[in-house]
Amino acid sequence: MLKFIAAGLIASAATVATLGLASADPVTITFRFNDTEQEVRGAIDEFQKQNPDIKVDLQRIGWKDARNQFLREAAVGQGPDVAHVAQVWVSEMGDAGATLALDDFLQKDPPPNGFADFAAQDLAHGKDGKVYGLPWTTDTWAMVYRTDLLAQAGVESLPSTWEELRAASEAVYKKTGKAGFGFPAGSSASGAIWFLANFYWWSDGKALIVQKDDGSYALGLEQADVVEAMNYYKQFMDAGDNPQSNLAASDAHDPAIMQALVSGNQAMGAMPPNTYKEILKAYEDANPGKEPPFASAPFPHQPDTKSSMIGGRMLVINASSKHPEAAWQFVKYMASEPVFADHYRTQFPAQNSLLKQIDFGAPLKGFAEQFPFARTWGAYASGPVPIGTLWNITQRSFGKALSGQVSTEDAAKELLAEIGKQMP
């Protein structure tokens, strides 16, 4: 009798276990992405097809709020399993304990060609030397020109110095009535004037933050350097060739600026390649069969200086993720070659091996030419003041100067004083 009961119990347990396994729900992870859903929808669907035991919920948030939203949530054990972040945020997020160190995963289950194949590795490390993010995409900014407007203004070649850029912008405005170099001059935290200011300084061989020979960090600019950059960009606002309304625009992706370039109301812009690709596509959609009158070119620089940054995005795993293994599977897949070949075509991959295979084509020639004259954030990222703070202070001071709220001298003084206060 006992044998029958025992056999019955074992059989029931086995049945329950089998049913339990068969009906086990797939693991669900959340992926927070900061660009448009259609850019990654295909890749996520493909991942789920290949990994039926992992379901990915896509969340969307704007870049403007992405960083502080994630930090707020991670501090209380919440937030998405995987997040899309700017490369320059990774170190501080790791130091804050918001993201998971990936060293174990990289050792046990590395991506093809290993971690060494990825660009911007310096930005992936926290102060403790651990890796807190997997570089996902990389890009650089370059200048974009409407060649038809330049021709109308009598500008025969693309500017190669800051003075030529200024003169070309002025010529377009005076001769065609259209905007010349229309850059976003707004002061909001994630704004673009931060990039333009740094490109100006870097092209002259200077930088806001520098690392000295003894390893310590210091401000690399004098007040006169900051004033010079502010005055340079202020000329465009004061003369009117950058419309005053761009003081309310902070993003290179600002619809008003993109539309002005597409419609031929603006001759020049500064942007990353995905924004340029969207402009080209919008032009082709609006003018089927017409050759887009656009060209890209590097920012002005000297033979031995840089004038743009090697930027991009990383993927991080939340320190509080309940499914870190599944999250790593997803992160690794998203950084793989098929994703960039078949789905995520608006961005360039961060793996050097994949980057080398890309044919930039004629419209993106300027971006390809800019890459050798682009630099990483270097001392900015490893220095004592978080890049986000440097960015915010610079944006605000330039915003004050460009809008005429205070003089360029006062704004420059304030910028250096504010950053100086936070240097050890």
Binding site: A96, G97, G186, S187, P243, S245, G388, K400, S403
Partner: protein, 298 residues
């Protein structure tokens, strides 16, 4: 004595709830304001810095500018204009002429539209209207008043008036409708008596209408001060406190310090300063309004 004990016992749950919901956050904010807590250091917590955040705030070169924006533009200008325009609209809606033209109901309905529009939608609508190629610029150019479009929300000469216009568009209807309902309580005999005494229109308004409206104006004025002084939405959505920091007010400074500069401790100190100012207005409200209402009830 037993009644008193019973009443006190019955009040305990409400008091506990009030302390939990209102007292705890205020005391926690006060505690944080004495630390250097950062958004990047929330897991570790902040270090005690005493009054350092307050010292830095009051010594900051920006503080005077922020206070000016908050008191003069965001609060005083918007509240005074809101009451004046609201009163003018209420008087207009109360005229017999409007009733004769059968426009009273339509006008009141039209007034409800901006009031029912959420502030975020109101700001977005106005941002479109005030754009370079927006309706306002096109209308002004069409009328020959300007030759070049004005960057209303980016030019330091026009940005504050533009924000105030957005606030007024969204909030005046409530004032107007509230004052209209007060106007309709003025007894007709008072106007007849004033007419018999030979009072002019201005005298009738000054000595008959206005005294009846004063309690409502007082309440609406004080409530408007609360809504405006603490307001974040209009400035942040319209300008993000820019250009530069030209339209920065206390509420946007709290956000900027907490979520842009990540300085939660410093931001909490600004929040406490705002709470003190609002507390002063609260006492004023209690003395001028609540006390009077209590006396009238008793």
């Amino acid at each position: 004595m037993r009644d008193r004990l019973f009443i006190t016992t019955m009040l305990v749950p409400s008091m506990v709830l009030l302390i939990l919901f209102y007292g705890y956050p205020i005391f926690d904010n006060l505690r944080i304001s004495f630390t250097d807590l950062s958004l990047l250091g929330m897991k570790k917590g902040g270090n005690w810095v005493g009054l350092e955040n307050y010292r830095e705030l009051f010594r900051s070169g920006e503080f005077g500018h922020i206070l000016f924006n908050t008191f003069i533009w965001l609060t005083a200008t918007s509240v005074v204009l809101r009451l004046l325009i609201g009163l003018a609209i209420a008087l207009l809606l109360n005229t017999r002429a409007l009733g004769k033209l059968r426009l009273a109901a339509v006008s009141r309905f039209a007034l409800l539209i901006p009031w029912a529009t959420p502030p975020i939608v109101a700001v977005v609508i106005w941002r479109f209207l005030l754009e370079r190629n927006g309706f306002v610029n096109e209308a002004l150019i069409g009328l020959g008043l300007i030759s070049q479009p004005i960057a209303f929300l980016a030019d330091i000469r026009t940005v504050w008036p533009s924000i105030v216009v957005i606030m007024l568009w969204n909030t005046v209807p409530l004032i107007a409708l509230s004052l209209l309902s007060s106007l309709q309580t003025v007894p007709e005999e008072y106007y007849e008596a004033a007419e018999l005494d030979g009072a002019t229109d201005w005298q009738t308004f000054r000595f008959v209408t206005l005294p009846f409206l004063m309690p409502a104006i007082l309440v609406l004025g004080l409530m408007s001060v609360f809504w405006s002084f603490n307001n974040f939405v209009y400035v942040w959505l319209a300008t993000g406190a820019g250009p530069g920091t030209f339209t920065n007010v206390l509420a946007t400074e709290v956000y900027l310090k907490a979520f842009v500069d990540f300085r939660l401790g410093y931001s909490s100190a600004i929040g406490m300063v705002m709470a003190v100012v609002m507390g002063a207005f609260g006492i004023l409200y209690l003395r001028l309004v609540a006390q009077r209402q209590l006396e009238e009830t008793l």
